[in-house]
Amino acid sequence: MTSYLSITEARRLLVTKKISPLELLTELEQRISTINPKIKAYLSWDHQQARLDAEKADLTKPLGGIPIGIKDAILVQGAPAYSSSRILEGYHAPYDATVIKNLRAAGAYPLGRLNMDEFAMGSSTETSAFHPTYNPWDVSRIPGGSSGGSAAAVAAGIAMATLGSDTGGSIRQPAAFCGCVGMKPTYGRVSRYGLIAFASSLDQIGPLTHTVEDSALLLNAISGVDSHDSTSLLLPKEDFTSEIGQDLKGVRIGIPKEYFVEGIEPGVRTRVEEAIKQMISLGAEPIEISLPHTEYAVSVYYIIVTAEASSNLARYDGVRYGKRSAQTKDLLSLYEQTREEGFGAEVKRRIILGTYVLTSGYYDAYYLRAQKVRRLIRQDFEEAFKKVDLIVSATSPETAFRCGEKINDPLKMYLADIFTIAANLAGICGMSLPCGFASKEGKDLPVGLQLIGPSFGEKMLFRVGHAYQQATEWHTQHPSML
């Protein structure tokens, strides 16, 4: 039985020859064909290519024989990559993203294209141009977003692990809503080459997994400097699993008062407070801290993210790749009609807002001011990390909401990103891991605990997260209706 296998468990079965890479793949694919129609996490997958990859798997490598599900924004040579947008329909990637190259070098191989919000713009996976993805714990609810397909696939046991991308919480929030582990590395840790750009100063690729240990193993594989991404950092090669197994004695955990305010669902708050107590009982020392510019984070984020997006998405012009409108008279109408037909509503809204904040006359009032407040937000964290080793909060103030609940109210959707976006603005690392369930409208839904670390503080997140998972069993619970 290979359902819900972690990478570590699968590797044990593979290395001891209890199962072959091809058998592992076949069982996974059988599960995908039964379960995917219920949650629609995958947009597509290529049986033949996966079979070829499994057959030539090198089990001596650290991730030998492990299939990894891939968010539709990450390029895999020869595979479709639409970023869940109509404007890229028909596009096939001419090269592998660096993370894919790195995965292959570690012995793993990519499997399938996972659904997402269009160009990663959304928190529910409902803005996908193709179809929504449903939460495996309750299919009337969204899985979170934008990496909703990546989180739902892990939670439903139709991927052992996946890659997502996180611009403002797009790995951590869906991981919280689906009850899996989602990690956003420090900005610059992982190459963005071959990631379809959304907001380049914030985007970072990271793993979604069942366990914290698997998360560290995947970061080992995908991280590293890359000559194709000038923002990837030259850092000494590290083993992110090296502090896993250490206890929590003497670890100072910061509890930011601004993250424990009105507006958090009571069930979420209770679970997070229990998780903090658990960490204290394991030896951690709680310290109350303040991140005074928290209330500005959503405003700063939605100015910067739309500005960068409006610039990044200028490349979709119907000339070099993707869709071209048939309704064109001249070059201008080719651009305008292609973009009108190819982009969904949320993408258009963000391009228009981004264009506005960059318009001369408003640039100083919005974009420049936002960049200054961004510095204050980073300074808040720098001050906090003088006193603590990591910061603990809820990943999201709520559990998974119902399909359609917020899709017509963009501001309401944006405000719920409050706890995740500051880590992107500051460029630091963060992780969400399951810390129990909260009852909402008669359903028990997963709650995510967020650990935020300083720049290059991933090892501490893995150490603390792993110790928490050793002491609890939340990550071993799986949705029952599937």
Partner: protein, 100 residues
């Protein structure tokens, strides 16, 4: 109706859509105007802070130009670079006539 009501919005969405090269329908213009007004009212929160002397931060890390040695490197073959083009011929991307 649409033209007159657009003046009451914070953003001139039809104008911005032209800058961004997107033909919007009237319905889209009206809807986005209302929705983005609310977003803009919220983000105006950042006007409350005194930012005297604060340097803007464009990136989370110090980003410098990184240049490689000026040596030719293999690149994507022309055929593959053109493979995704909606319209191509003779090794070129084809667009409607620009000059009469």
């Amino acid at each position: 109706m649409a033209a007159s009501s657009s003046h009451s919005h914070l953003l001139d969405v039809p104008y911005l859509a032209r800058l961004a090269r997107i033909t919007l329908t009237l319905e889209e213009s009206e809807l986005f105007s209302k929705q983005l007004d609310r977003v803009l009212e919220h983000v105006a929160l950042i006007n409350k802070i005194d930012l005297t002397g604060i340097e803007p931060m464009a990136h989370a890390i110090s980003v410098f130009d990184v240049v490689r040695d000026d040596q030719p490197q293999p690149s994507l073959p022309k055929k593959e670079a053109l493979a995704n083009a909606p319209h191509q011929a003779s090794g070129l991307f084809i667009v409607p006539k620009v000059l009469e």
